[in-house]
Subunit: 116 residues, 2 copies
DNA sequence: AGAGAAGTACGATCGTCGTCAAACTTCGAT
DNA sequence: ATCGAAGTTTGACGACGATCGTACTTCTCT
Protein backbone atom coordinates (compact mmCIF):
# COMPACT_ATOMS: atom_id res chain seq x y z
CA UNK A 1 0.00 0.00 0.00
CA UNK A 2 1.05 3.56 -0.54
CA UNK A 3 1.77 5.60 2.51
CA UNK A 4 2.46 8.59 0.29
CA UNK A 5 -0.19 10.11 -1.86
CA UNK A 6 1.28 10.35 -5.36
CA UNK A 7 3.48 13.34 -5.91
CA UNK A 8 1.85 14.11 -9.20
CA UNK A 9 -1.43 14.76 -7.43
CA UNK A 10 -2.38 17.60 -5.20
CA UNK A 11 -3.12 17.05 -1.52
CA UNK A 12 -6.64 17.72 -0.21
CA UNK A 13 -7.59 21.36 0.22
CA UNK A 14 -10.63 22.64 2.13
CA UNK A 15 -13.28 24.71 0.39
CA UNK A 16 -13.80 28.28 1.50
CA UNK A 17 -17.09 27.29 3.09
CA UNK A 18 -15.19 24.81 5.23
CA UNK A 19 -12.77 27.34 6.68
CA UNK A 20 -12.95 27.52 10.45
CA UNK A 21 -11.93 30.59 12.42
CA UNK A 22 -10.56 28.49 15.24
CA UNK A 23 -8.45 26.43 12.88
CA UNK A 24 -7.20 29.49 11.02
CA UNK A 25 -6.21 31.23 14.23
CA UNK A 26 -4.49 28.12 15.53
CA UNK A 27 -2.54 28.03 12.31
CA UNK A 28 -1.59 31.69 12.51
CA UNK A 29 -0.61 31.73 16.17
CA UNK A 30 2.61 29.86 15.53
CA UNK A 31 5.46 32.26 14.70
CA UNK A 32 6.99 29.93 12.12
CA UNK A 33 3.71 29.47 10.30
CA UNK A 34 2.93 33.16 10.48
CA UNK A 35 6.34 33.83 9.02
CA UNK A 36 5.55 31.52 6.13
CA UNK A 37 2.34 33.40 5.45
CA UNK A 38 4.11 36.72 5.74
CA UNK A 39 6.83 35.67 3.32
CA UNK A 40 4.24 34.49 0.83
CA UNK A 41 2.33 37.73 1.19
CA UNK A 42 5.45 39.85 0.81
CA UNK A 43 6.70 38.08 -2.28
CA UNK A 44 3.42 37.79 -4.10
CA UNK A 45 4.86 34.71 -5.79
CA UNK A 46 4.50 31.03 -5.11
CA UNK A 47 7.38 29.71 -3.04
CA UNK A 48 8.68 26.19 -2.73
CA UNK A 49 8.96 24.67 0.73
CA UNK A 50 12.73 24.61 0.70
CA UNK A 51 13.03 28.27 -0.18
CA UNK A 52 11.42 29.65 2.95
CA UNK A 53 13.55 31.25 5.60
CA UNK A 54 12.46 29.29 8.66
CA UNK A 55 14.57 27.99 11.54
CA UNK A 56 13.24 24.44 11.73
CA UNK A 57 14.08 21.01 10.36
CA UNK A 58 12.53 19.66 7.18
CA UNK A 59 10.16 17.35 9.00
CA UNK A 60 8.95 20.17 11.20
CA UNK A 61 8.52 22.34 8.14
CA UNK A 62 6.36 19.66 6.53
CA UNK A 63 4.20 19.68 9.61
CA UNK A 64 3.75 23.45 9.47
CA UNK A 65 2.83 23.41 5.79
CA UNK A 66 0.25 20.72 6.47
CA UNK A 67 -1.33 22.79 9.21
CA UNK A 68 -1.48 25.85 6.97
CA UNK A 69 -2.95 23.88 4.07
CA UNK A 70 -5.56 22.11 6.20
CA UNK A 71 -6.64 25.44 7.62
CA UNK A 72 -7.07 26.79 4.10
CA UNK A 73 -4.35 29.40 4.23
CA UNK A 74 -2.16 27.99 1.50
CA UNK A 75 -2.57 25.89 -1.61
CA UNK A 76 0.05 23.31 -2.48
CA UNK A 77 1.06 21.61 -5.71
CA UNK A 78 4.06 19.80 -7.04
CA UNK A 79 6.56 20.88 -9.66
CA UNK A 80 8.94 17.99 -10.01
CA UNK A 81 10.13 17.15 -6.53
CA UNK A 82 9.48 20.64 -5.34
CA UNK A 83 6.35 21.47 -3.39
CA UNK A 84 5.03 24.89 -4.28
CA UNK A 85 2.97 27.03 -1.94
CA UNK A 86 0.41 29.66 -2.82
CA UNK A 87 -1.22 32.03 -0.37
CA UNK A 88 -5.00 31.70 -0.71
CA UNK A 89 -5.44 35.43 -0.25
CA UNK A 90 -8.82 36.00 -1.85
CA UNK A 91 -10.38 32.94 -0.33
CA UNK A 92 -9.18 33.70 3.18
CA UNK A 93 -10.37 37.27 2.73
CA UNK A 94 -13.75 35.96 1.70
CA UNK A 95 -14.00 33.74 4.75
CA UNK A 96 -12.53 36.21 7.25
CA UNK A 97 -12.30 39.72 5.85
CA UNK A 98 -9.48 41.81 7.20
CA UNK A 99 -7.75 39.05 9.07
CA UNK A 100 -4.73 38.63 6.82
CA UNK A 101 -4.57 42.35 6.27
CA UNK A 102 -4.33 42.89 10.01
CA UNK A 103 -1.37 40.55 10.18
CA UNK A 104 0.52 42.18 7.34
CA UNK A 105 0.17 45.71 8.64
CA UNK A 106 3.34 47.69 9.29
CA UNK A 107 2.63 47.44 13.01
CA UNK A 108 2.11 43.71 12.83
CA UNK A 109 5.16 43.39 10.60
CA UNK A 110 7.27 45.28 13.08
CA UNK A 111 6.10 43.00 15.87
CA UNK A 112 7.30 39.93 13.98
CA UNK A 113 10.41 38.39 15.46
CA UNK A 114 10.98 36.10 12.47
CA UNK A 115 11.84 37.31 9.01
CA UNK A 116 8.96 38.58 6.93
CA UNK B 1 3.86 39.12 53.07
CA UNK B 2 0.89 39.69 50.85
CA UNK B 3 0.26 37.07 48.23
CA UNK B 4 -2.67 39.08 46.96
CA UNK B 5 -2.25 42.57 45.62
CA UNK B 6 -4.81 44.70 47.41
CA UNK B 7 -8.27 44.68 45.91
CA UNK B 8 -8.50 48.43 46.06
CA UNK B 9 -5.62 48.69 43.59
CA UNK B 10 -5.60 47.93 39.94
CA UNK B 11 -3.45 45.11 38.60
CA UNK B 12 -0.56 45.92 36.24
CA UNK B 13 -1.52 46.75 32.67
CA UNK B 14 0.89 46.93 29.74
CA UNK B 15 1.29 50.13 27.75
CA UNK B 16 0.26 50.15 24.12
CA UNK B 17 3.92 50.30 23.14
CA UNK B 18 4.45 47.04 25.01
CA UNK B 19 1.79 45.10 23.17
CA UNK B 20 3.17 42.05 21.42
CA UNK B 21 1.52 40.48 18.41
CA UNK B 22 2.49 37.01 19.52
CA UNK B 23 1.04 37.54 22.97
CA UNK B 24 -2.14 39.06 21.59
CA UNK B 25 -2.67 36.20 19.18
CA UNK B 26 -1.99 33.62 21.87
CA UNK B 27 -4.62 35.35 23.96
CA UNK B 28 -7.14 35.42 21.14
CA UNK B 29 -6.64 31.86 19.96
CA UNK B 30 -8.42 30.40 22.94
CA UNK B 31 -12.17 30.11 22.29
CA UNK B 32 -13.11 31.03 25.83
CA UNK B 33 -10.97 34.15 25.80
CA UNK B 34 -12.16 35.11 22.34
CA UNK B 35 -15.70 34.74 23.60
CA UNK B 36 -14.92 37.11 26.44
CA UNK B 37 -13.59 39.66 23.99
CA UNK B 38 -16.58 39.18 21.72
CA UNK B 39 -19.02 39.62 24.56
CA UNK B 40 -17.28 42.81 25.63
CA UNK B 41 -17.30 44.11 22.09
CA UNK B 42 -20.96 43.25 21.57
CA UNK B 43 -22.14 44.86 24.78
CA UNK B 44 -20.07 48.00 24.60
CA UNK B 45 -20.23 48.09 28.38
CA UNK B 46 -17.82 46.98 31.07
CA UNK B 47 -18.70 43.54 32.36
CA UNK B 48 -17.82 41.95 35.68
CA UNK B 49 -16.03 38.62 35.65
CA UNK B 50 -18.97 36.73 37.08
CA UNK B 51 -21.37 38.01 34.44
CA UNK B 52 -19.71 36.45 31.45
CA UNK B 53 -21.24 33.44 29.77
CA UNK B 54 -18.31 31.05 29.78
CA UNK B 55 -18.25 27.31 30.45
CA UNK B 56 -15.34 27.15 32.88
CA UNK B 57 -14.75 27.22 36.61
CA UNK B 58 -14.00 30.40 38.50
CA UNK B 59 -10.32 29.64 38.85
CA UNK B 60 -9.99 28.96 35.16
CA UNK B 61 -11.87 32.16 34.42
CA UNK B 62 -9.39 34.09 36.54
CA UNK B 63 -6.60 32.60 34.48
CA UNK B 64 -8.21 33.68 31.22
CA UNK B 65 -8.79 37.21 32.42
CA UNK B 66 -5.15 37.41 33.49
CA UNK B 67 -3.99 36.32 30.06
CA UNK B 68 -6.22 38.87 28.36
CA UNK B 69 -5.09 41.65 30.66
CA UNK B 70 -1.41 40.85 30.35
CA UNK B 71 -1.74 40.85 26.57
CA UNK B 72 -3.33 44.29 26.73
CA UNK B 73 -6.75 43.32 25.46
CA UNK B 74 -8.72 44.24 28.55
CA UNK B 75 -8.43 46.65 31.44
CA UNK B 76 -9.48 45.55 34.89
CA UNK B 77 -10.55 47.45 37.98
CA UNK B 78 -12.45 46.68 41.11
CA UNK B 79 -15.87 47.83 42.18
CA UNK B 80 -16.40 46.39 45.60
CA UNK B 81 -15.69 42.70 45.32
CA UNK B 82 -16.53 42.70 41.66
CA UNK B 83 -13.81 42.79 39.03
CA UNK B 84 -14.84 44.86 36.06
CA UNK B 85 -13.47 44.32 32.57
CA UNK B 86 -13.11 46.88 29.80
CA UNK B 87 -12.18 46.11 26.24
CA UNK B 88 -9.16 48.24 25.30
CA UNK B 89 -10.55 48.80 21.82
CA UNK B 90 -8.75 51.94 20.79
CA UNK B 91 -5.43 50.86 22.19
CA UNK B 92 -5.51 47.46 20.53
CA UNK B 93 -6.55 49.13 17.30
CA UNK B 94 -3.61 51.45 17.62
CA UNK B 95 -1.20 48.58 18.14
CA UNK B 96 -2.70 46.21 15.57
CA UNK B 97 -5.16 47.96 13.27
CA UNK B 98 -7.95 45.81 11.97
CA UNK B 99 -7.26 42.83 14.15
CA UNK B 100 -10.21 43.11 16.50
CA UNK B 101 -12.42 44.21 13.64
CA UNK B 102 -11.54 41.06 11.75
CA UNK B 103 -12.62 38.97 14.70
CA UNK B 104 -15.94 40.72 15.16
CA UNK B 105 -16.99 40.49 11.53
CA UNK B 106 -20.27 38.71 10.74
CA UNK B 107 -18.25 35.90 9.18
CA UNK B 108 -16.03 35.59 12.21
CA UNK B 109 -19.02 35.87 14.47
CA UNK B 110 -20.78 33.08 12.64
CA UNK B 111 -17.71 30.91 13.00
CA UNK B 112 -17.75 31.29 16.76
CA UNK B 113 -18.91 28.19 18.58
CA UNK B 114 -19.25 29.96 21.92
CA UNK B 115 -21.76 32.67 22.64
CA UNK B 116 -20.89 36.14 21.41
C1' DA C 1 -18.79 40.75 64.34
C1' DG C 2 -20.27 37.23 61.26
C1' DA C 3 -21.78 35.36 56.96
C1' DG C 4 -21.81 35.21 52.26
C1' DA C 5 -20.44 36.76 47.70
C1' DA C 6 -16.65 37.42 44.35
C1' DG C 7 -12.30 36.34 43.04
C1' DT C 8 -7.42 34.74 43.66
C1' DA C 9 -3.46 31.56 44.61
C1' DC C 10 -1.73 27.14 44.47
C1' DG C 11 -0.82 22.56 43.11
C1' DA C 12 -1.86 18.75 40.22
C1' DT C 13 -3.37 16.55 36.09
C1' DC C 14 -3.84 15.79 31.41
C1' DG C 15 -3.74 16.67 26.48
C1' DT C 16 -1.87 18.84 22.80
C1' DC C 17 1.71 20.79 20.06
C1' DG C 18 6.30 21.91 18.29
C1' DT C 19 10.43 19.72 17.61
C1' DC C 20 13.78 16.47 15.87
C1' DA C 21 16.21 12.22 13.87
C1' DA C 22 15.96 8.32 11.08
C1' DA C 23 14.09 5.76 7.48
C1' DC C 24 11.62 6.15 3.41
C1' DT C 25 9.67 7.74 -1.29
C1' DT C 26 9.59 10.21 -5.40
C1' DC C 27 11.41 12.76 -9.04
C1' DG C 28 15.12 14.61 -12.04
C1' DA C 29 19.71 14.51 -13.80
C1' DT C 30 23.84 12.18 -14.84
C1' DA D 1 20.44 2.45 -13.51
C1' DT D 2 22.13 5.34 -10.06
C1' DC D 3 22.58 9.18 -7.28
C1' DG D 4 21.21 13.21 -5.12
C1' DA D 5 17.72 16.61 -4.06
C1' DA D 6 13.27 17.48 -1.96
C1' DG D 7 9.77 16.13 1.06
C1' DT D 8 7.17 12.76 3.83
C1' DT D 9 6.19 9.48 7.52
C1' DT D 10 6.73 7.73 11.89
C1' DG D 11 7.84 7.65 16.62
C1' DA D 12 9.58 9.83 20.59
C1' DC D 13 10.30 13.57 23.62
C1' DG D 14 9.66 17.88 26.18
C1' DA D 15 7.26 21.92 27.15
C1' DC D 16 3.49 24.45 27.73
C1' DG D 17 -1.31 25.49 28.69
C1' DA D 18 -6.25 24.66 29.90
C1' DT D 19 -8.62 22.78 33.47
C1' DC D 20 -10.18 21.83 38.13
C1' DG D 21 -10.69 21.56 43.38
C1' DT D 22 -9.39 23.39 47.55
C1' DA D 23 -7.98 26.81 50.52
C1' DC D 24 -7.59 31.56 51.00
C1' DT D 25 -8.53 36.75 50.84
C1' DT D 26 -11.20 40.78 50.52
C1' DC D 27 -15.19 43.22 50.39
C1' DT D 28 -20.29 44.15 51.46
C1' DC D 29 -24.34 43.65 54.05
C1' DT D 30 -26.82 42.62 58.04
Amino acid sequence: MSYYWPMGRTPPHPEVSQFGLQQVLEALVDPVRRSIVTQLDASGEDIKCGDFDIPVSKSTATHHFNVLREAGLIRQYYVGTARMNTLRRDEVDEAFPGLLAALTTPQARAAQPLAG
